[in-house]
């Protein structure tokens, strides 16, 4: 059990896919303009990483080694399309807001990375936990970055005007992708100054 707990906690901080492994940067630049979009994107990625890790782990002993990447890709693509279709049917407004980015979960390095590094060699339950935890670690950073970008860029949080009352002028730079990268850099900086063991000599 202690092992499962470790599997779950590691991707959240010590082995965070964005700030430590620096994977999934592209989508974290794209969907962090607004908090709502970032939250749904986080949930979608959690579902995709968790379920595709689970499926690949169940199939792991049968997958021919030479075509394993293709098989993984097929599984991941299926999950992403299912998520997209379900959102279109049951959460249409949110699907419209995320538009192309749902489809782009396929290209998110975290999903394939965790399958290759973890699910291919582990039992289904730890794989599921690893997948979900990595999705959570990704989502956590997404929400932190989106919080600052929406607050300082549009003066709102979840679309509610928060800073308008005190006469804040929106910072247009916050909305543009480069600022996400700078914020991400700040998050990494803060994390490394707290967790000293992450610092390279």
């Amino acid at each position: 059990m202690a092992n499962l707990k470790e599997t779950f906690l590691n991707p959240l901080l010590k082995g965070n896919p964005i700030t430590v492994l620096v994977l999934g940067i592209c989508s974290s630049l794209a969907v962090t303009v607004e908090l709502k979009g970032a939250c749904v994107m986080a949930l979608s990625v959690i579902a995709v990483t968790g379920l595709s890790s689970l499926v690949v782990s169940i199939l792991r002993n049968t997958i021919p080694n030479r075509v394993r990447i293709i098989v993984q890709l097929v599984v991941v693509a299926m999950m992403v399309i299912l998520v997209d279709q379900l959102l279109k049917a049951f959460a249409y407004g949110i699907d419209k807001q995320l538009s192309v980015y749902i489809g782009l979960i396929i290209t998110n390095c975290i999903v394939m990375g965790r399958i290759e590094a973890f699910a291919l060699g582990q039992k289904p339950i730890p794989s599921l936990i690893d997948g979900v935890a990595n999705g959570l670690g990704y989502g956590m950073i997404l929400i932190i970055v989106a919080f600052f970008r929406e607050l300082l860029g549009s003066g709102t949080l979840f679309g509610l005007p928060v800073l308008k009352a005190i006469g804040y002028t929106n910072n247009g730079l916050m909305i543009l992708p480069p600022m996400a990268l700078i914020l991400l850099g700040c998050v990494i900086w803060v994390q490394r100054s707290i967790q000293k063991d992450l610092q390279e000599k």
Binding site: P64, R66, V74, M78, L86
Partner: protein, 254 residues
Amino acid sequence: MNTNSNTYTVVYTTIIVIIVAAILAFAAMSLNGRQVANMKAETIGQILKAAKIESGESNAEIINAYKSQIAEAYTVDLTGAKKGELPAEDATIFTTSQLKAQNYKIAGGESDATLPVYVFKNGTKVVPIYGAGLWGPVWGYVAVGTDGKIVGATFDHASETPGLGGKIKDDPAFSAQFDGKAFDFNDVVPFDIVKGGAPAGKVNAIDAITGATMTSKGLGEAVNAWARAYAPVLAAAPCCCEETQAEETTKTEE
């Protein structure tokens, strides 16, 4: 079993692909009805919002609001002559993909274009627009009142950048600029979306979106192309007052 043999690999991948295809086909078919209904309700919601008609959030509420408020929905050609009816009882509307097909005809100046017009009980006419933004199509609805002034407008897009071009949909302040403006068919362009700010007092111009020049430009072109196509209908707007008033009287009598 040797999982590395050629036969195994080919058979394995074939089976996996067939299973995945079957799951996806099943999901697509079983969810399709709901998805189409969502899209239709969304479009009707946009038409109602442009005409400033209150409706609820749910699909059923939106469709009921449309059915109770619509006076007449029909299609016209480029000369403004009526071509056909869009029956209100099942809330028939033009879908976005139908607008796309008509957009080609408008661009090509083909006279057999079929353009929808939605007339509400208060005399407001709602017409669609469709065109190209920066990353993909942009479309929307413009409502013109009986006095020829724009009542409201809503816009939507397939893949404009959220927070920049996406503001045509998400920023209420952008679409609110249309309220009270009017098309001027004697001007160079019937309607102008001006980068750097519209001149004060100009009745057919609004400000473009900062940081979204291409989207603003594309939207402006779309509005103008479709406004020209609808010119016979929209220019004739004031003359419909009598007809509408008559309709309203009959309604009160009922």
